[in-house]
């Protein structure tokens, strides 16, 4: 094991790196949610704009924003991002500043964010297979949500915050220590990219 690689691996388990990545990804999610929320409000203000193909239409006529999946709970999904991501940003910033949150708090954050990730991937699945229109901001949310989830899980397993039984916690901690989580997340994101370029490659390169 070469020294720089070892240093890199130590850095990866440090709070600065974990919460820095979490902060960065949560900010990306927040920006994307904001853009999508503004779009949704504009569409709601002007149904005529919403229900027509505008001359400035480039990629699609807003069919993603107008699908029932885009308002699963009766309001634009992006609002959920506006509510949840600032909390993650707060956790990340406070932790960077040295705050240690109680175990139950981090566990609760993990549970809620896991639901968020499941929802994000359900939306990805819907837009990929059922709506069919490309939505770059939605894709950004899928990726950044995955990164937040990965960092949150990383820190919670490292610090044993999840109330897991010993025989589950121990191997998980070992895998994290052996950096297998990086491998899994990398493979996951690359598979996502492969799916997107396979489906939309024609439009991305032309």
């Amino acid at each position: 094991m070469s020294a720089p690689l070892g240093a890199l691996r130590r850095l990866r388990h440090a709070n600065a790196w974990i919460f820095g990545t979490m902060l960065f990804s949560a900010c990306l999610s927040l920006i994307a949610s904001l853009v999508l929320s503004i779009d949704a409000v504009r569409l709601a203000e002007n149904p005529r704009l919403a229900l027509s193909c505008n001359i400035n239409t480039v990629i699609n006529c807003g069919t993603v924003a107008l699908s029932w999946q885009a308002q699963l709970f009766g309001f634009p999904n992006a609002f959920l991002g506006l509510m949840a991501e600032p909390v993650v940003i707060t956790i990340a910033v406070a932790s960077l500043g040295g705050t240690r949150f109680p175990r139950w708090f981090m566990c609760a954050a993990q549970v809620v964010y896991t639901l968020g990730v499941i929802f994000a991937y359900w939306l990805f699945y819907q837009s990929f297979f059922n709506i069919g229109a490309l939505c770059p901001w939605c894709l950004l949310i899928t990726v950044s949500t995955t990164l937040v989830f990965a960092t949150l899980t990383h820190v919670n397993i490292r610090d044993d915050n999840l109330y897991l039984p010993r025989r589950v916690q121990a191997p998980l901690a070992r895998w994290i220590a052996a950096d297998l989580d990086v491998i899994v997340v990398t493979i996951w994101l690359l598979a996502l990219i492969l799916a997107v370029v396979t489906r939309y490659g024609d439009r991305l390169v032309s």
């Binding site: 229900l51 901690a173 492969l194 370029v197 024609d202 390169v205």
Partner: protein, 262 residues
């Protein structure tokens, strides 16, 4: 001392208590001794494989045969009976109501509008109440993966209006009944021709779709429509005034037309 016996003792013998931090750090650094080395190798191979697949997919789609862009230059041929504003006309010239419809055959909302109101419009035109002026625009060519469905469909509509005018509405409604998904490949020229034949258009007319005779005219009327302040499609006007009622269910438009016919 690295005798086999010594090793054995090290393995089974209780090590001095280590702090959790130390163990974590050691485990992280001691990748070489960790039993979890093979997943790293397998993972690395999978990652390289995925990267290769991504690059290959991008290269393949970049090199894929792209249909030649349809030229919009060339002599401008105006379909028989078309207005100077760029609309195809159906129905009696002395019909009391003039209905203008701006559409793009790729526009999903135009599809919703036509599927809700197409039959009513056909009926009102047939009854002599409405003179229909259809603007077949082509501004969503980007949304059909390079096949320029908007332009091809609009050219076909103009060809039908030019040479088999009484079949225009049936063909128009059929194009929307079989509207392709936005962002897909659009319908092929053959599929468009087959819809036209099913709508009663003679084969010698559908054979002319491939000549792209009216493409320059379609491009010109698209430009004119948007230069004239059109915002998007569908836009529907009754006697020159924009209809602001619900476009997406049958009824309100018919009512407004009947009102205007009085």
């Amino acid at each position: 001392m690295a005798s086999p016996a010594g090793k054995w003792v090290n393995r089974v013998g209780k090590k001095p208590a280590e702090s959790a931090e130390m163990r974590k750090g050691k485990a992280a650094i001691a990748g070489a001794r960790s039993p979890a080395r093979w997943p790293l190798i397998v993972g690395g191979v999978v990652i390289v494989g995925l990267l290769v697949a991504i690059v290959a997919t991008l290269v393949v789609s970049a090199n894929k045969e792209k249909p030649e862009p349809i030229s919009t230059s060339g002599p401008m041929v105006v379909p028989t009976g078309a207005t100077t504003g760029g609309a195809l006309v159906s129905g009696k010239a002395d019909a009391p109501v003039r209905l203008e419809v701006y559409l793009d055959y790729m526009c999903p909302y135009c599809g919703q509008f036509e599927r809700a109101n197409g039959e009513e419009i056909a009926r009102l035109v047939g009854a002599g109440t409405v003179r229909l002026e259809t603007y077949p625009l082509a501004f969503l060519d980007e949304a059909s993966s390079g096949t320029q469905y908007s332009t091809r469909a609009a050219n076909a509509a103009a060809t039908v209006s030019d040479r088999a005018a009484d079949k225009f509405i049936a063909f128009n409604n059929s194009l929307f009944a079989h509207q392709p998904a936005e962002g897909g490949e659009g319908l092929t020229d053959d599929a468009i021709a087959s819809l036209a034949r099913d709508a009663g258009v003679p084969a010698e007319v559908t054979d002319a779709f491939g000549d792209r005779t009216f493409v320059p005219w379609v491009a010109d009327s698209t430009k004119k429509a948007f230069a004239g302040g059109l915002q998007g499609t569908p836009t529907v006007k009754i006697d020159g005034v924009q209809f602001t009622g619900d476009l997406y269910k049958a009824g309100p438009l018919t009512e407004a037309i009947n009102q205007a016919a009085k």
